[in-house]
């Protein structure tokens, strides 16, 4: 077993035993469900909206070359500089290059999941720069030296008490139980950071080809300050974020708010189309866009699973995933957790190393049902499994399935199996749960059903006589 699997298994086991953790995630998400359903009801027809969104993304992703160039040309025409990064390393180099050239010292960041993907903070810190996350949740996990726990709620695994203790230890603030006060503590720290920062780094929720602008969605307003106050603004985004038309935002912004956090629309939705223009009084002097591939074209080349690039990172699939709700975000060991993470990580980081994520699902389909852009998530998990096995079958599993196909195809053998099962279960209690028990993984916590005295087929035969 590779390290990633062992890590996943031990972390998931530890966390499923942590009832506080389970309770915290599940009760938080219960509130989400109620809010989401309420906001969904405000759409005239949620299913039709999903269909329209899926079609728009289909168009965008299928003609990515065209729309990306259109976007780049338009935003460059207004003075932004567009950089193309094939790999994580290139993206880091580009950003480090800009930071060095500007003689910057302090960097403030906001809403950059792709930053996590390319380990940007570590690279910047290793090069001697101060980096601060400006979103409250991200700031909290940064202080804890952790990765975000969830796309939309990066610190949802922590209680108020834990956050207060963290602030007390790291910032010397007084203990408090009030969310407002906790927010204010972080805000006071942040205010100075904005003023001191030379460079602001953001992500992008969408990039509009038609008008050459990026759209950023947030609830705290930190991204606005990050993008506007420092002299230089760098936006790092995956190439799949592009939308063809400005009017597409009219659908995608409320959809993201609804599916993501159960809001009609997020509090702040800003668009950025280049640096400060002549005659304007504020905004950054320079704007850079870094377009990141990092194996997304890999996924693009796979016609069957290409639609996984439609993802708008709303987090809805995580919110409804019964696996996520029990093991939490960190267990996945990936930048993108939950169902969508399990679908794309094998493409982005190697199928043999990450195929276990595709297996760690019951294929219940709650994610597919929730996804606002209709990505067929759980079927893609099946495809990942098939692709991993086709490339490299596990010999004993293959043998087992081969033997069982013989068993299923021969009624006499099947009858024998029933007979064997009846005998076997007489002895099973002696070994149940011990190392000798072949069904131990199941019987440690669950009883096995008894083999019936008379199988259905035996009943049927006896009736035919």
């Amino acid at each position: 077993m590779n390290l990633n699997v062992l890590q996943f298994k031990s972390d998931s086991e530890r966390l499923t035993h942590n009832l506080d953790h389970r309770e915290r995630i599940q009760s938080a998400l219960k509130k989400y469900y109620v809010a989401r359903d309420d906001k969904k009801a405000r759409f005239q027809d949620w299913q039709a909206a999903r269909q329209a969104a899926a079609e728009t993304k289909w168009e965008a992703v299928n003609h990515l070359d065209k729309y990306l160039v259109e976007f780049a040309d338009k935003i460059e025409a207004r003075g932004a500089k567009v950089h193309w990064a094939s790999t994580a390393e290139q993206a880091r180099e580009i950003i480090l290059g800009i930071v060095k050239e500007k003689n910057a010292r302090r960097i403030i960041k906001s809403k950059v999941m792709t930053g996590e993907e390319i380990h940007l903070n570590a690279a910047l810190e290793a090069a001697g720069y101060d980096v601060v996350e400006s979103d409250l949740g991200e700031y909290i996990v940064q202080l804890r030296h952790e990765a975000p726990y969830h796309f939309v709620f990066p610190a949802m695994h922590l209680s108020r008490g834990e956050i207060s203790d963290l602030f007390e230890k790291e910032l010397g603030s007084a203990k408090t139980d009030s969310p407002e006060e906790l927010t204010m503590i972080a805000r006071r720290v942040m205010r100075d950071q904005y003023l001191a920062a030379d460079i602001g780094i953001s992500g992008a929720n969408f990039a509009v080809a038609e008008t050459g602008m990026i759209s950023i969605t947030e609830n705290e307003g930190n991204a606005r300050l990050t993008c506007a106050l420092p002299k230089v603004h760098i936006a790092l985004m995956g190439i799949e974020k592009v939308l063809p038309k400005f009017e597409d935002l009219a659908l995608f912004l409320p959809m993201l708010g609804t599916a993501g956090a159960g809001q009609a629309v997020t509090c702040y939705n800003s668009m950025y189309a280049g640096p400060r223009q002549p005659g304007e009084t504020d905004g950054p002097e320079e704007m850079h866009i870094v377009l990141l591939d990092n194996k997304r074209t890999h996924l693009l080349a796979d016609i069957e699973q290409r639609d996984a690039l439609h993802c708008i990172r709303c987090g809805a699939c995580l919110n409804v995933c019964p696996i996520y709700k029990n093991v939490g975000g960190h267990t996945y060991g990936t930048t993108y957790q939950g169902p969508i993470g399990s679908v794309i990580t094998p493409h982005l980081r190697g199928i043999q190393e990450w195929k276990h994520l595709s297996s760690a699902s019951t294929l219940c389909g709650a994610c597919t049902e929730a996804c606002p852009v209709k990505i067929n998530l759980h079927h893609h998990l099946l495809h990942n499994r098939r692709n991993a096995i086709a490339q490299k079958p596990v010999w004993w599993e293959q043998t087992l399935f081969h033997l069982s196909s013989i068993l299923f195809n021969h009624p006499a053998l099947w009858r024998l199996a029933a007979w064997g099962g009846r005998i076997g279960q007489l002895f099973h209690p002696l070994i149940q749960g011990t190392i000798l028990d072949p069904a131990r993984a199941w019987t440690k916590t669950r009883d096995l059903p008894p083999v019936a005295d008379q199988t259905f087929k035996e009943y049927w035969r006896s009736r035919q006589k």
């Binding site: 709700k325 760690a360 079958p393 599993e397 196909s405 009624p411 059903p449």
Partner: protein, 239 residues
């Protein structure tokens, strides 16, 4: 109508009464039942584990044996989804594709068959108890059946249906998942059991015995008195 009944492997072996109940109900309604002896399994375990070639070894004989069937009733939501949704995918672009599509079209999960094909006839069932219903994910999301089993239960005399909060949440069985990731599976099952128990029901009913196998396995270990039953057993009840 001549009905071919598909009793999946684990139902045959561990839950024969589900099959017997279906036979009795359909015969009482005047239909003729055929049970193909050679068919034991639909191939779902291999398919879901990624072994599509091995799954085909099980599925091809099923296709061949059921080719001439008039209508097929299958005693499990999950195996029903295998026949209806996944066979066409498994055999896409092969010589069996058309057979798979034809099979999918004439296959019904049992509760769906009663409602969609037979128009929810009164079965004269009586089951004086409080029950709650668990939606098996495959029946619910692959086959899109949510109201059908509930309509059937609404006909049962003296039965009180109490909906649980987590009715649509996966119970954590997931076939080989339950053995590959036993702790996650157990944790999911605990959520399901707690939600069912909270309703105060005496029985958890489902149209999928595989989910019930998992749920009952957990309940036994926890020493909970609430019991599980397949919907066919309830519909065949006269207590």
């Amino acid at each position: 109508m001549k009905i071919t009944l598909f009793v999946p492997c684990f139902v045959d072996m561990c839950y024969p009464n589900v099959g017997v109940s279906i036979v009795e109900i359909l015969e009482r309604l005047g239909h003729e039942i055929e049970v193909p002896e050679e068919i034991a399994c639909c191939g779902q375990p291999a398919f879901n584990s990624g072994y599509w070639e091995e799954a085909k070894k099980v599925a091809i004989p099923v296709l061949q044996r059921l080719k001439n069937a008039e209508v097929i009733v299958i005693a499990s939501g999950s195996c029903g989804a295998m026949l209806k949704v996944f066979y066409p995918e498994l055999f896409a672009k092969t010589e069996y594709e058309l057979d798979a599509i034809a099979l999918a079209e004439k296959t019904y999960e049992f509760s769906d068959f009663l409602v969609t094909k037979l128009g929810n006839p009164d079965l004269g069932a009586r089951f004086p108890a409080k029950v709650t219903f668990h939606d098996g994910c495959h029946g619910l999301r692959e086959l899109g059946k949510k109201k059908e089993p509930r309509e059937l239960l609404s006909q049962v005399r003296d039965l009180e249906l109490l909906e649980m909060g987590e009715a649509e949440t996966c119970c954590g069985f997931g076939g080989t998942f339950s053995a590959k990731f036993p702790m996650i599976s157990t944790a999911m099952g605990e959520v399901k059991c707690a939600s069912a128990i909270e309703t105060g029901a005496d029985f958890i009913i489902s149209n999928d015995s595989s989910c019930l196998m998992h749920i009952q396995g957990l309940l036994n270990r926890q020493g909970e008195p609430i019991k599980t039953l397949h919907i066919a057993e309830v519909l065949n009840s006269r207590r």
